[in-house]
Amino acid sequence: MSECSCGHGEEVNVEFPKELVSFINEWKVKQGSLIMILHKTQESFGFIPRAAAEQIALMTGIPLARIYGVITFYHFFKTTKPGKNKVSVCLGTACYLKGGGDLIEEARSVLNIKPDEVTEDGLFSVEEVRCVGCCGLAPVMTVGGETYGKLTKKQLPEIFEKYKARG
């Protein structure tokens, strides 16, 4: 693929696993199934590479422009590859009041990355998320699906070390 600054230029090998292909074939005949297909695709790759969106367009007959219209409308869909351990800091109201904003700054500073960046070793990326619904445990952060509640900034380095050790 040629040089491009749109952020989607990165060459990705998107061979659709069998399960994904059969999911798409099963769902494409149903009305309004695009979002379900995109969920399944993101589950496979961790994000939705452009090449995958192109392939979905071919398989379903939905124009690529419409697919991108949907991908970019919803927060859940990502067009860039996240770190192996996705760090999600909750910025729901309860978490915000109890210092969620400081946590996200601190997490990025400890890992030395900016928004939408991945650490050099590819292990971490940090994103803010809307309410994970554990308001009683505020402030909350999840790492690769594991939840850490009533969190303080000081606990962050130790938590990240745990995931670094796992590689």
Binding site: S33, R130, C134, C135
Partner: protein, 624 residues
């Protein structure tokens, strides 16, 4: 499982009723909270630990360990309840599993140290029966209708739901009542939509029923994008069948044969339990073709949302269900006339639906006996923020904010002063001390400048800055506006810019007038409720906390210390003992000094994180 007819369902219920679990020859049943919050707080280890300990101590065949839905008392989770003793244990840790098994199951002695203790230290007596709420301050004024089965049954086992009056309402709806009877019962109950606006539920059903069309749809709104609200998630996690049963009844009442649950993808546990419940209901013939041999067909599919707050708005939700961008469309036509794919569609929120089986079993009059004149029944609130007992709270409509915050919620954390309470999330407003004694219902909250919304209730104390909170909500709305109509797209952005200016200390008094003008224009001219209510937090804080806006504008001061641009930290020479704790904890390395001599802060490098302020033991660091 084979498909049931109505007699077989009755038999199953009778066989299972009462002490259903005792049929299996167990002596003890241990219920562990299986809600998202408790599960992520080592709840899974506790559940697995109890099973492993029971086996290890040789009583594996006497104890059944069950994961239930949310007990509501999230602050003191994970919660574990042991039957038949009714022992209600709080703050349980995985290492407590051994003692629960050895002491209680084998020795017949409860584990006293795990009981909840009143603030004065006295232990709490237990509830008389399983199903009764424990006599803890947190539960005193609560009444559980929506959450009636949460913490009581295992949501992954359909028989437990059936044993607790499950699917009786469906049987009545199929065999005893005509569609109009169902709708009339809802009319008697006075149930109004719990998604926020409070539209009478029976009217919605009736309107959809009256439109003639071969194809109609029932949609359950389980999107819950409101930050600080999780009652819908907890309801589905703890009692998915109540939602399925209600949707099926709705299908019968309005003449639909297909339902959809539109649910947040961010709620994996709720999605999983709903999938399980749907499969079990289908196996028993409670969903699908010829339900219970009645000839009525109805099926339900799950569709995932993808993280857009605006999709909580019903027309936007339908566009998303159709597979497109979730942008609202003008009403009329209302979904009842032209909804999903142009067909008549009845959309109800999770909490609204969960009420319905209980109403139809116990009668509309029973439901109408709870609540206020115009708002009947109960309301579930997610009580969070700077509160001692945060959790899920269900109270009769008409309970006052003071009762919820100070009696159920146990007051403000760390003895701080109450500042305000935000109800209705980004669509609501911050209410003050002055209105705490107003009985709350749809109308009173709107009158006070807030709204019921989905039921988030976030308590703020003196350390929270209302201008910053207004900015936080507007930042959210800018992000979540779909951009279709200009009052919302442009209005939210402009309000955010002005609020940022004020929090940076660059505002002037004319800005307040601008905020009010833009806010009122948005209320009148926006296409949907997101735009129409987005200015509420800003307008309500200007009205209720005007003096704090003035302090930001004129004195460049943030009394709560939240607006960083307005802050500075200095060390008082005469109070500093030179211990160096401030310098040690400073992440910007901008504090210097020699031991036993006063330290100083380099203001040009200070990042205003407040670590020095927090760590000084001699009150030598001051925040201004």
């Amino acid at each position: 499982m084979s498909k049931l007819n109505t007699d077989a369902l009755n038999k199953l219920r009778d066989g299972a009723s009462g002490e259903f679990r005792n049929k299996k020859g167990y002596t003890h049943y241990i219920l562990t909270c299986g809600g998202t919050a408790c599960q992520s707080n080592k709840g899974v280890e506790i559940y697995e630990g109890l099973i492993a300990e029971a086996k290890k101590q040789g009583v594996g065949d006497k104890v059944q360990v069950i994961k239930t839905g949310c007990f509501g008392f999230c602050e003191r989770g994970p919660i574990v309840k042991v039957l038949p003793d009714n022992s209600f244990y709080v703050d349980v840790k995985p290492e407590d599993a051994e003692e629960i098994i050895s002491s209680q199951v084998k020795g017949g002695k409860e584990v006293d140290r795990l009981f909840y203790k009143n603030p004065d230290g006295s232990p709490v007596q237990k509830a008389a029966a399983h199903g009764d709420l424990p006599p803890i301050g947190f539960y005193q004024k609560q009444q559980r209708v929506v959450l009636r089965n949460c913490g009581i049954i295992n949501p992954e086992v359909i028989e437990e739901y059936i044993a607790n009056q499950g699917y009786i309402a469906l049987q009545k709806s199929l065999f005893e009542w005509k569609p109009d009877d169902i709708i009339n019962e809802l009319k008697t109950s006075g149930l109004r939509g719990r998604g926020g606006a409070g539209f009478p539920t029976w009217m919605k059903w009736d309107a959809t029923k009256k439109v003639a069309n071969d194809i109609k749809y029932v949609v359950c709104n389980a999107d819950e994008g409101d930050p600080g609200a999780y009652m819908d998630r907890s309801t589905i996690e703890g009692d998915p069948h109540s939602v399925i049963e209600a949707m099926t009844i709705c299908g019968r009442a309005i003449g639909a044969s297909q339902g959809f649950v539109y649910i947040r993808a961010e709620y994996p546990l709720a999605v999983h339990r709903l999938e399980l419940a749907l499969a079990q209901a289908k196996d028993y013939g409670l969903l699908g073709n010829d339900i219970l041999g009645s000839g009525f067909n109805f099926d339900i599919e799950i569709r995932l949302g993808a993280g857009a707050f605006v999709c909580g708005e019903e027309t936007a939700l339908l566009r998303s269900l159709e597979g497109g961008r979730g942008m609202p469309t003008p009403k009329p036509p209302f979904p009842a006339v032209a909804g999903l794919w142009g067909k008549p569609t009845c959309i109800n929120n999770v909490e609204t639906l969960a009420n319905i089986p209980a109403i139809l079993v116990r009668g509309g009059a029973w439901f109408a006996s709870m609540g206020t004149e115009k708002s009947k029944g109960t309301k579930v609130f997610a009580l969070t923020g700077k509160i001692n007992n945060s959790g899920l709270v269900e109270v009769p409509m008409g309970t006052t904010l003071r009762e919820i915050i100070f009696e159920i919620g146990g007051g403000i954390k760390n003895g701080k002063k109450f500042k305000g309470v935000q109800t209705g999330g980004p669509s609501g407003g911050i209410l003050t001390e002055k209105v705490l004694d107003t009985p709350i219902d749809y109308e009173s909250l709107t009158q006070m400048g807030s709204m019921m919304g989905s039921g988030g209730m976030i308590v703020m104390d003196e350390d929270d800055c209302v201008v910053d909170v207004a900015r936080f909500y507007m930042d959210f709305c800018v992000d979540e506006s779909c951009g279709k109509c200009s009052p919302c797209r442009i209005g939210t952005t402009q309000i955010l810019k002005i609020l940022e200016k004020i929090t940076h200390g660059n505002g002037d008094e004319a800005d307040l007038i601008k905020l009010e003008t833009i806010g009122k224009a948005m209320q009148k001219a926006s296409l949907c409720a997101l735009g129409g209510t987005a200015a509420n937090p800003t307008l309500s804080t200007i009205r209720n906390f005007r003096e704090e806006y003035m302090e930001h504008i004129h004195d460049h001061k943030c009394r709560a210390g939240k607006c960083k641009s307005l802050l500075s930290f200095t060390i008082l020479e005469d109070k500093c003992k030179g211990c160096g704790m401030c310098a040690k904890n400073c992440p910007a390395a901008c504090i210097t000094g020699e031991k036993k001599k006063p330290y100083t802060i380099d203001q040009s490098k200070c990042v205003k994180c407040g670590e020095c302020f927090k760590n000084c033991k001699f009150d030598a660091v001051v925040r201004a």
